[in-house]
C-alpha cells in the first residue's frame, strides 16, 4: 500500500471525480456533493502519510514508483517527491477539500460536473508535482488545464469565454515551446525522458539559453510573471469562487515549481547568466503590480494583482541562489496558497450575499458581519505581510536574502511593505469599516458555520505557519541545499 502512495494521491481524486460525474444530473446533487467531499477527504488522507513518513534528512526522491509506460520512446510512469514537491502535494490536497466545501451551496447548476472537475484537476495537479518523467509531467501539466478551462468557461461570469480562451491560449503557447525543449533534451540525453537524467545532461550555452527562454515562457506564464500576467486578473474575475481559489492557491505554484524542477537544474549556466533578467521581471512584478493593485475597483482583480506581486517574491527568491532566498520563495508559495485562498473565499462570502465584487458597493460590513470582519482582517494582514502570519515568513526570508546579494534588489522588494499594506488595507477600510453604506449591506448576514469552518481552518494555517515555520523549512531544506549545490556546478560540455 505504502509503495503506491503517490499513485493513490493522483488517482484517488481522479477516480472520485469520475464517480461523482456518474451521479449525472442535478437531481442527485446532494449525493454528488457528499461523494465529492468524501473523495476530497480521502485524497487528503492518502496524502498525509507523505508528510508523516517523509525523511527530512535526505534530498533524494522518496516514495518512488517506476514502471515502463511507452517503451518505444523510453517513457516511464515514474513518480517521486522531495522536499520541494511534497509540501505542494499536501497543499493541493488540502485546498481541494476547502473548494468542495466552498461550492456546497453556491453551485446549484451542474453540481456533479463542477465537483468532478475539481477532483480530477486535483489529481492531475498532484501528478504534475509527482512526475519524474518529462512526458508524464507534460501530460499532467496540459491535462490540468482542461478542467480549469471548463470551470472558468462553464461556471464563470458574463465574460467567461474571453477569459477562458485568453487563459488557455496564453498557457498553451508557453507549453508548446516546453515540449520542443523536452524533445531536444530527449535526444541530448541519449534517449531519456527522465527528468533527473536531464539534470545531469551536459548542454552548450546556446542550447541552454534557448531552452531557458522556452521554459521561462512556459512556466512564467503560469506563475504569472510580468509581463505575461494579464490573463490572470481576467480569469479570476470570471472564475467562480472555487476556481479562483484553486487558480491562486495551486495553479500558480505549478509555474513556480517548474522553475525548481526544470529551469534551475537543467540549464544552470543559463540560469546564472540570465538571473538578472528574472530578477528584473520579479522586482517589476513587486513594484509595478503593487501600484496597479492600488487602483483596482474590483476586489477580485485587486487580489489577483496582489497575487502577481507576491509571486514576484517567489521567482526573486529562486534566482538569488542562496538557501534563504530559495526556501523563502518556496515558503512564500505555500503561504500564498493559504492567504490567497482565504482572501478569495472572503470575496466569495461577500459576493454570495451581495452579488458584486465592486469595492464601491460595500462599506460598513463590520456592523453587520463582525465575525467575518475579524477573519477578513487576519487575512488582509497576512496579505500585507504582518509578522506572526504566514505572509511575513517568505517575504522576510527573500528580503533578507536579497540584501546579501544586492542592496537595491532588497530595496525594491521591500516596497511591498508599503504597497502591500496600502492596497490591502485601503480596500479593507472601504469595504469593512465605516457606517453601513447602503440598504444592501444592511441586509447582509454574518457568516454561517460552514463558512466559519472554511475560514477558521485557513486562519489556523496562516497563524501556525507564521508563528512556527520551522517544520516547513525543515522539510524543504535538504532538497533546496542539494538543488543549489547542483545549480552551482556548470553543465557546459
Amino acid at each position: 500500500m505504502l509503495n503506491n502512495l503517490l499513485s493513490l494521491v493522483i488517482w484517488v481524486p481522479i477516480l472520485a471525480g469520475v464517480i461523482v460525474l456518474a451521479t449525472g444530473s442535478d437531481r442527485n446533487a446532494a449525493l454528488a456533493r457528499w461523494l465529492a467531499l468524501a473523495g476530497a477527504l480521502l485524497g487528503l488522507i492518502v496524502a498525509i502519510p507523505l508528510a508523516t513518513g517523509f525523511d527530512t534528512a535526505t534530498s533524494a526522491m522518496q516514495f518512488v514508483e517506476k514502471a515502463a509506460w511507452i517503451p518505444a520512446f523510453n517513457v516511464h510512469y515514474h513518480l517521486g517527491v522531495d522536499g520541494i514537491s511534497m509540501p505542494l502535494i499536501l497543499l493541493n490536497s488540502f485546498i481541494t477539500v476547502l473548494v468542495v466545501i466552498a461550492g456546497w451551496q453556491v453551485i446549484q447548476d451542474k453540481v456533479a460536473q463542477y465537483m468532478a472537475a475539481f477532483l480530477i484537476m486535483s489529481g492531475l495537479i498532484n501528478g504534475v508535482f509527482a512526475a519524474l518523467d518529462g512526458i508524464l509531467f507534460y501530460v499532467f501539466f496540459e491535462g490540468m488545464l482542461i478542467p480549469l478551462y471548463l470551470i472558468v468557461g462553464v461556471w464563470g461570469g458574463p465574460n467567461r469565454v474571453y477569459a477562458a480562451f485568453k487563459f488557455f491560449l496564453y498557457t498553451l503557447l508557453g507549453s508548446l515551446l516546453m515540449l520542443v525543449s523536452m524533445i531536444y533534451l530527449y535526444f541530448q540525453s541519449g534517449g531519456s525522458f527522465d527528468i533527473q537524467t536531464w539534470h545531469t545532461t551536459a548542454l552548450g550555452m546556446t542550447a541552454q539559453t534557448l531552452m531557458f527562454f522556452a521554459f521561462l515562457l512556459a512556466f512564467g506564464v503560469k506563475v504569472p510573471m510580468w509581463p505575461v500576467h494579464t490573463w490572470l486578473p481576467d480569469a479570476h474575475v470570471e472564475a467562480p469562487t472555487g476556481g479562483s481559489v484553486v487558480l491562486a492557491a495551486i495553479t500558480l505554484k505549478v509555474g513556480a515549481y517548474g522553475f525548481l524542477r526544470f529551469i534551475l537544474p537543467i540549464v544552470p549556466d543559463a540560469s546564472h547568466e540570465l538571473a538578472w533578467f528574472v530578477i528584473l521581471l520579479s522586482l517589476t512584478a513587486v513594484a509595478y503590480i503593487g501600484l496597479v493593485a492600488l487602483v483596482q475597483a474590483d476586489m477580485k482583480k485587486l487580489i489577483a494583482y496582489s497575487s502577481i506581486a507576491h509571486m514576484g517574491f517567489v521567482t526573486l527568491g529562486f534566482f538569488l541562489f542562496n538557501p534563504l532566498g530559495a526556501e523563502g520563495g518556496l515558503v512564500q508559495m505555500i503561504s500564498h496558497g493559504f492567504v490567497s485562498a482565504a482572501l478569495f473565499l472572503c470575496i466569495g462570502v461577500m459576493y454570495d450575499r451581495l452579488h458584486s465584487r465592486q469595492i464601491k458597493d460595500y462599506g460598513g460590513l463590520v456592523n453587520k458581519m463582525p465575525v467575518f470582519a475579524a477573519f477578513f482582517m487576519l487575512f488582509a494582514m497576512a496579505n500585507a505581510g504582518l509578522p506572526a502570519t504566514s505572509g511575513f515568513v517568505g517575504e522576510f526570508m527573500v528580503i533578507m536574502a536579497a540584501t546579501q546579494v544586492n542592496f537595491w534588489f532588497a530595496f525594491v522588494a521591500a516596497t511591498t511593505l508599503i504597497l502591500g499594506a496600502a492596497y490591502t488595507l485601503w480596500m479593507y477600510k472601504r469595504v469593512v469599516f465605516g457606517a453601513v453604506s447602503n440598504p444592501h449591506v444592511e441586509e447582509m448576514r454574518d457568516i454561517s458555520l460552514r463558512e466559519i469552518l472554511l475560514l477558521g481552518v485557513l486562519a489556523v494555517c496562516v497563524l501556525v505557519m507564521g508563528l512556527y515555520p520551522k517544520p516547513f523549512t525543515d522539510v524543504m531544506h535538504a532538497s533546496m541545499v542539494d538543488l543549489l549545490a547542483h545549480v552551482a556546478q556548470s553543465k557546459l560540455p
Binding site: K166, P227, A293, L294, Q296, A402, A410, K470
Partner: protein, 678 residues
C-alpha cells in the same frame, strides 16, 4: 532559583496574552465584568512578575536565552528569546505599570461603549506585544513586536470604526509606520548579511570588527556600513516614534479612545524607537554620521512640533504635539550618545504624559466629550483631583526643579550642549528654545481648562477652525458621563481618579529618586555601551553633585527662567489679556495659518504620495497592462491571426471558377519560371 526566574519571564508577556484571548474570543461568554477582571488580572500578574524580575536584575542577574526556535536554515537560526537586563527590566516595569493604570481607568472611560470587551482585549494584546518587543534578544523578534504594536495601534485608532476620521487616521498611521518599517527591515537585512546573525549578543560582539567596513550603494561613493545600518534602523524608529518627517500620523491617532492615547501614543509604543536605539548602542556608537543624523532629526521634531502645540484647541491634540516634541528631546539625547538620559526621559515622560492624557480624558468625560479647550475653563473647583494631578503633570512636563521631568530634560539639554557632533549646536538651541515653547503650550492649556471663566455652557465646541476634531460621534460611544446636559461638571469616579493619583506619585518623585543610579551609577551596566570618544556622559557625571544640588542649581540657569517665562506669558495671555493672542494671530496671519495647518505636511504627503501613487498605478494599469500588453501584444496578435485568416479565407471561396482561375495563374507562373530557367 534560575529556573523559576525563567518561568517568571514567560509569565510576564503571557499573562496579558491570556487575558487578551479570553476577552477577545470569549467576550460574549465572560461578559463585561469578566472581560475587565481577566485582563486586569493578567496585567497585574505581569506587573508583579516584572517587579520580581526587576529585583532579580538589581541583584545582578541577567538572562539571555532562547524560548523556541522559529526557523532554522542550516547554520542560520531564527529564534524567539528573551534578553533580560537592566534596560529590559526597566521597560517591563514602565509598560506593565502604565498598562495596569490604563486598564483600570478604562473601566470608567469606556463604561458605556458597546465594544467594551474588544477594547480590553486589544489593550492586553498591546501589552503582550510591547513586552515581547522590549524583552527580545534578537532583531527578528524585535520586528515581530514592532509590527504587532503597530497592528494593535491600528486597531485601536480605528476602534470606533464607523467614524470616518478614525478609519482614515488608522490607515494613515499604519502606512506611515510601514514607511519606517521599510527602512527598518533593510537595516535588519544588512545586519544579517554582514554579521551572519540576528542575535543581539552575537551582532554586538562582532560590531567593532566591522567598524571600518564600507559598502557601495552606488558606484564611486562608499558608505560606512555602520552608518547605513544605523540610519536605516533609525528610519524605523522615526516611524514608530513619530520623528519628523514621519510624524504626521501621531496627531491623527488621537481619533482613538483616550486610554490608548495615554498607553500607546504617549507612554509606551511611541517610545519603542527610543528604546530600540538605546538597545543598539553598541552599533550606533560606531557611527558619528548616524548619531548626527539622529540628533538633527530629534532637534527638528522637538522644536517644530512644539510650535504646533501652541495653536491647538483640541485638548488631546495639545498633549499629542507635546508628546511629539518630547520624543524629539529623547532622540536628541540618543544622538548625543546619552542613551541612558534618553531612556531616563522615556521613563519620566511615560508617567507624566500618561497622567496628562488620562487627566485630559477625565476632563473630556466631565465635558461630555467636548474636547475644545476654548469651551472649558474654571474646572479647578469642580474637579479637584483631576486639577491637582494635571498641575503636577504639567509642572513635571515643563521641567520644574525637583519634579521628574526636570531631571531628565535638564540632562538632555546639558548633553546637547556638551556634544561635539555636527548638528549639536542646532540641537542645543532647539531643546533650549523648546523649554519655553513647552511651558507656554502646557500652561496655555492648563489655564484655559482649569482657570479663568467657565465657558462650558457657551456651546458644545462646534468650533469652526479646520483642525478641531471632536470626540463626538453621536452614537453614544465612549464614556461614563460626569456631567448631565446643562448641569455642573463634577469629578469623575474613582476608577478614573485612582490611576491619576497613582501616576502623579512617580511624576513627582521618580526623577529625584532615580537620576543618580540610572545616569551616573551602574544601573544599566553593560546594557548600554558608550564609546570612550563620546565624552558626554562622562562630563555630565563631572557636573553632577547629587539630585538636590542639581535642583537648586537649576534655579539660576537659563532653562528654568525660560520655562518660567513660558508659564508667565501663558498666564498673561490667557487669563488677563485673551485679546492679545487673537491679535497676534491676526497680525501674523501666515504664521498662524502655517501652524494651524501643521506646515502643510498632510497636504504635501497626500498630494505627492497618495495621489502620486494612485496616478502612477492608474497610468501603469491603463497604459502598461491594458494598452501595451493586452492591447498590442495579446489582442494584437489575436487580431493579426484574424486578419491573416481573413486574407487566407478569401481564397477559400468555394467557387470552382475561382479555383480554376487560380490554377490557371499558377500554371502560367510555373511555365514562365521553367521557361526562364531553360
Amino acid at each position: 532559583m534560575r529556573v523559576d526566574m525563567q518561568t517568571l519571564y514567560l509569565v510576564v508577556p503571557l499573562a496579558p496574552l491570556f487575558g487578551a484571548i479570553v476577552a477577545g474570543l470569549f467576550g460574549r461568554l465572560v461578559g463585561r465584568t469578566g472581560a475587565h477582571v481577566v485582563t486586569i488580572a493578567g496585567v497585574a500578574v505581569s506587573f508583579i512578575a516584572s517587579v520580581l524580575v526587576f529585583q532579580d536584575v538589581l541583584a545582578g542577574h541577567t538572562f539571555n536565552g532562547t524560548v523556541y526556535t522559529w526557523m532554522t536554515l542550516g547554520d542560520l537560526h531564527f529564534e524567539v528569546g528573551f534578553l533580560v537586563d537592566a534596560l529590559t527590566a526597566m521597560m517591563m516595569l514602565v509598560v506593565t505599570f502604565v498598562s495596569l493604570m490604563v486598564h483600570v481607568y478604562t473601566i470608567g472611560y469606556m463604561h458605556d461603549d458597546p465594544g467594551y470587551q474588544r477594547f480590553f482585549s486589544y489593550i492586553s494584546l498591546f501589552t503582550f506585544s510591547m513586552l515581547m518587543l522590549v524583552m527580545s534578544n534578537n532583531f527578528l523578534q524585535l520586528f515581530f513586536g514592532w509590527e504587532a504594536v503597530g497592528l494593535v495601534s491600528y486597531l485601536l485608532i480605528g476602534f470606533w470604526y464607523t467614524k470616518e476620521t478614525a478609519i482614515y487616521a488608522n490607515l494613515k498611521a499604519f502606512l506611515v509606520n510601514r514607511v519606517g518599517d521599510f527602512g527598518f527591515i533593510l537595516g535588519i537585512g544588512l545586519v544579517l548579511a554582514h554579521f551572519g546573525s540576528l542575535d543581539y549578543a552575537t551582532v554586538f560582539a562582532k560590531a567593532p570588527s566591522l567598524a571600518r567596513e564600507t559598502i557601495t550603494l552606488w558606484p564611486g561613493a562608499p558608505w560606512m556600513l555602520m552608518s547605513v545600518i544605523g540610519i536605516l534602523l533609525f528610519i524605523g524608529a522615526m516611524g514608530k516614534s513619530a520623528q519628523f518627517p514621519l510624524h504626521v500620523w501621531l496627531p491623527d491617532s488621537m481619533e482613538g479612545p483616550t486610554p490608548i492615547s495615554a498607553l500607546i501614543h504617549a507612554a509606551t509604543m511611541v517610545t519603542a524607537g527610543i528604546f530600540m536605539v538605546a538597545r543598539m548602542s553598541p552599533l550606533y556608537e560606531l557611527s558619528d554620521t548616524a548619531l548626527s543624523f539622529i540628533m538633527v532629526i530629534g532637534a527638528i521634531t522637538a522644536l517644530f512640533m512644539g510650535f504646533l502645540g501652541m495653536v491647538q484647541n483640541d485638548i488631546k491634540r495639545v498633549v499629542a504635539y507635546s508628546t511629539l516634541s518630547q520624543l524629539g528631546y529623547m532622540t536628541v539625547a540618543l544622538g548625543a550618545s546619552a542613551y541612558s538620559v534618553a531612556v531616563f526621559h522615556l521613563m519620566t515622560h511615560a508617567f507624566f504624559k500618561a497622567l496628562l492624557f488620562l487627566a485630559a480624558g477625565s476632563v473630556i468625560i466631565a465635558m461630555h466629550h467636548n474636547q475644545d479647550i476654548r469651551y472649558m475653563g474654571g474646572l479647578k473647583k469642580y474637579m479637584p483631583i483631576t486639577w491637582v494631578t494635571s498641575l503636577i503633570g504639567s509642572l513635571a512636563l515643563i521641567g520644574t526643579p525637583f519634579l521628574s521631568g526636570f531631571y531628565s530634560k535638564e540632562s538632555i539639554i546639558e548633553a546637547a550642549k556638551i556634544s561635539h557632533l555636527p548638528g549639536a549646536g542646532f540641537a542645543y538651541f532647539a531643546v533650549l528654545a523648546g523649554v519655553f515653547v513647552t511651558a507656554f503650550y502646557s500652561f496655555r492649556m492648563y489655564f484655559l481648562v482649569f482657570h479663568g471663566k467657565e465657558r462650558f455652557h457657551q456651546g458644545h465646541g462646534h468650533g469652526n477652525e479646520p483642525d478641531a476634531h471632536h470626540g463626538h460621534d453621536g452614537a453614544g460611544h465612549d464614556g461614563a458621563h460626569g456631567q448631565d446636559h446643562g448641569g455642573q461638571p463634577h469629578e469623575t469616579p474613582w476608577v478614573v481618579t485612582g490611576p491619576l493619583l497613582a501616576l502623579a506619585l512617580p511624576s513627582l518623585a521618580i526623577g529625584y529618586m532615580t537620576i543618580e543610579p540610572m545616569l551616573f551609577g551602574d544601573f544599566f551596566g553593560r546594557a548600554i555601551y558608550v564609546a570612550d570618544r563620546h565624552p558626554v556622559m562622562h562630563e555630565l557625571d563631572q557636573e553632577f553633585h547629587g539630585a538636590m544640588e542639581m535642583g537648586l542649581h537649576a534655579l539660576t540657569t537659563l532653562p528654568f527662567w525660560l520655562a518660567a517665562a513660558g508659564v508667565g506669558l501663558a498666564a498673561f495671555f490667557y487669563l488677563k489679556r485673551p485679546d492679545i493672542p487673537a491679535a497676534i494671530a491676526r497680525r501674523f496671519k501666515f504664521l498662524h495659518q502655517m501652524l494651524l495647518n501643521k506646515y502643510w505636511f498632510d497636504e504635501l504627503y497626500s498630494w505627492v504620495f497618495a495621489q502620486g501613487a494612485l496616478a502612477l498605478g492608474g497610468g501603469l494599469w491603463r497604459r502598461g497592462d491594458q494598452n501595451v500588453i493586452d492591447g498590442f501584444f495579446v489582442n494584437g496578435s489575436a487580431h493579426l491571426v484574424e486578419r491573416f485568416s481573413r486574407l487566407v479565407k478569401a481564397f477559400q471561396s468555394g467557387y470552382i471558377y475561382h479555383y480554376a482561375f487560380a490554377m490557371l495563374i499558377g500554371v502560367f507562373a510555373l511555365v514562365t519560371w521553367f521557361a526562364r530557367l531553360n
